[in-house]
Structure formats: C-alpha cells, structure tokens
Amino acid sequence: MEQLFVQTINQHQGILHKVCRIYCHNQEDHNDLFQEIVLQLWKAFPSFRSESKITTWMYRIALNTAISGLRKKKITLTELEKISFQIEDKKEITIEEDLQQLYKAIEYLSDIEKSIVLLYLEDKPYEEIAEITGITANYVAVKMNRIKEKLRTLLKTER
C-alpha cells in the first residue's frame, strides 16, 4: 500500500504544492505544510473508496489540513492599500510579475476564500468546488463574485 500511496502522491504532487503556494508565505512554511498534508493523506489513504475523483479527495484533505493548521502571521487588511499602490506604480509588468502579484493579492484573502480561488484558478466546476467546500454551487458562485471584486481592487493596475 505504501508504494501505491507514494506513487499517487508523486503523480499528483502538483496539487499539494499549489495548496502550499496559496497558503504559505515562505519556503519553510511551504515545506512544513507539504509534509503535514502528505501525513494526513497517508492517514486517510486506507479509507479512500474511489467514490470521488482522486484529485477531489486530495484537494479536500489538503485544504482541510491547510485551513485547520497552526500557521504563523496573516497579512492584515490595513496593508491592502499599500500593495495596491505598489502595483499601480509599475507600468511594465512581465508574466512572472503578474503571477507574483496574483500570489500577493491572494495573501489578503481569508483562508476560505483562498480555497475557493485556488479551485477556481484550477478551472474546477462550481459543483466540484461545492463538493470540496460543503457549500452549495449557487453560494460558490456568489462567493466567487465577491472574491473577484476583492481581487479586482487589489490588482488595480494600468497596463
């Protein structure tokens, strides 16, 4: 079973890294969260019954681990304007910078919003997001609109 588990993680480790990337601000936190997610997936692996897709199951465990974990500082909303100004100052933005700005903006979202935005960016249908989060697909849509508004404010920049 261990071999099968290791192979599964190896094959889908991108999911874990994406979750860590969204929830962690530095490499040390990233590694700690990655380790914790692997441990929790290993704990849950015997009970996985293929009722849902393996990726949905992995997202569910990974996001639950990330949300309930004891992590350090969270950026406060009072800094929101500061980042917005920094973004506005830049006239020429490369794709790499775009991604960094996106990460930076996501840092200001709540833990629940981060999960929803990650699943949205991963192009998951609202039904699957609903299955992972436990809210209705309609409410996912409402929530997503609010998040979009928030991100729009944060990423206000002239191109």
């Binding site: 261990e2 588990f5 290791v6 192979q7 993680i9 190896n10 480790q13 991108g14 890294h17 994406k18 860590c20 990337r21 990233h30 700690d32 990655f34 380790q35 914790e36 692997v38 441990l39 929790q40 290993w42 704990k43 849950a44 569910r60 465990i61 996001l63 639950n64 681990t65 949300i67 309930s68 974990g69 004891l70 794709i95 790499e96 775009d98 991604l99 996106l102 709540s110 833990d111 629940i112 919003e113 999960s115 949205y120 960016l121 192009d123 299955e131 992972i132 989060t133 436990g134 809210i135 209705t136 409410y139 409402v142 979009k148 991100l151 729009r152 990423l155 920049t157 002239e158 191109r159």
Partner: protein, 212 residues
C-alpha cells in the same frame, strides 16, 4: 485593469513551471511518512497524554498521604478524593484520548470537517479547564494540610490543632482562594494555548455557513 479571466490564464500558464521547482522524489515522500505530525488534533492528544501522566502522579501522591500520616480521618478524606475526583476524571481522560486517536475529519468536506474539529476542540478545552480547576483546591488543601502536620510534628506550632474545625476551615478557605485566583489564569492560559486557533476555525466555519 486586469480581468479575472486573465488571472486564470496567468495561473494556468505559469503555475506548472513555478511549482515544478518544488517537485520532490519518491524517496523523499517515503521519508515524509515517518515524520511527526503538527496537526492540531495530534497536538491536543499529546497534551492530553501529559495531563493523564500528571493525573497519575497526583493520584500516587494523594495515595501516599494516608500512608505517611497514618490516621483514619486522613485515609477517609484521601479515599473520597480519589474515588470522587481522580478515578472518574482519569477514566474520562483515557476515554477522550482514545476518541482523539480515532478522530479524523479531513475526509469530510471543509464545512463538516470544521464543524467536527471545533466540536472536538471545544470539548477538550472544556474538560482541560474544569479538570485543572478541580485539581487546584484539592492539591492546595492537601499540600497545606501536609505542611501544617509536618510543622507540628517537627515541634513548631505546639499549641496548634491540625484537626480542629478552625484549622480545616482556614485550609479550605486558602484552597478556595487559590481556585479563585487560578480561574482567570486558567482562562488566559487556555486561550493562549488553543483559544485563538479555535476562534480562527470558528471564523472559517461562519464564512461557510453564511449562505444558510
């Protein structure tokens, strides 16, 4: 202004190369399986185990008091304390420890996982608080009693009757005062220990329940 669908494009075209740098080998994944979990429930379980050990040490100490003092009254008092406080609490703690060992909520969706996690944490913090608060007057009372008894045996407090109702009332008052002082201290300590984390989890759950 950047549009939200652009975000999805930025994400999909860049994320794979970004996380590709983080990719780890199968052997490393295998090593991770042997590491120690920092999960909140595992931490609570470790704390509970420490509590159980402390309870057992206290139980042995309380059981030693009548052996040391060798009086019928003290024996009865200690037997009551052990039977009414220590044994039931120890059984409850052991039951809770086994329950936490089996507890795993991450297979559920985020909302129900959070609900279960919050319920477990609240239950644990409640028994931890009341257990510690209950131990304070008992330990205070016994400690005071043994000190006074010992001082009298050593020749101090010659005209002092350890068993008089006035002395017992004084010791009892001291134990109650100790409990009153420890109440806010315990509240603060528990909040510092897990309270803030519990609040954070409740905040997440509230956000998910907004739609209902």
């Amino acid at each position: 202004m950047i549009e939200l669908d652009d975000l999805k494009n930025i994400w999909s075209s860049n994320i794979e190369s970004d996380i590709g740098k983080q990719s780890i080998e199968q052997e490393k994944i295998r090593t991770l399986l042997k590491s120690k979990s920092t999960n909140i429930i595992d931490k609570v379980r470790t704390n509970l185990l420490r509590e159980i050990i402390m309870f057992c040490v206290c139980l042995v100490l309380v059981a030693c008091v009548p052996v040391y003092l060798q009086t019928k009254e003290v024996f009865i008092l200690c037997a009551i304390i052990v039977a009414v406080i220590f044994i039931p609490y120890l059984i409850y703690y052991l039951k809770k420890y086994r329950e936490l060992k089996r507890f795993f909520s991450y297979n559920e969706n985020m909302k129900s996982s959070l609900q279960q996690l919050i319920q477990q944490l609240e239950k644990y913090l409640s028994i931890y608080f009341w257990g510690s608060l209950l131990l304070t007057p008992v330990s205070g009372f016994l400690l005071c009693f043994v000190i006074l008894y010992e001082m009298k045996a050593l020749g101090f407090l010659l005209y002092f009757d350890v068993y008089s109702s006035a002395t017992l009332s004084m010791i009892l008052s001291f134990a109650l005062l100790l409990t009153l002082i420890s109440y806010p201290v315990m509240k603060w300590y528990i909040r510092k220990l897990y309270g803030q984390h519990l609040e954070k989890l409740k905040g997440c759950l509230k956000e998910l329940e907004e739609a209902e």
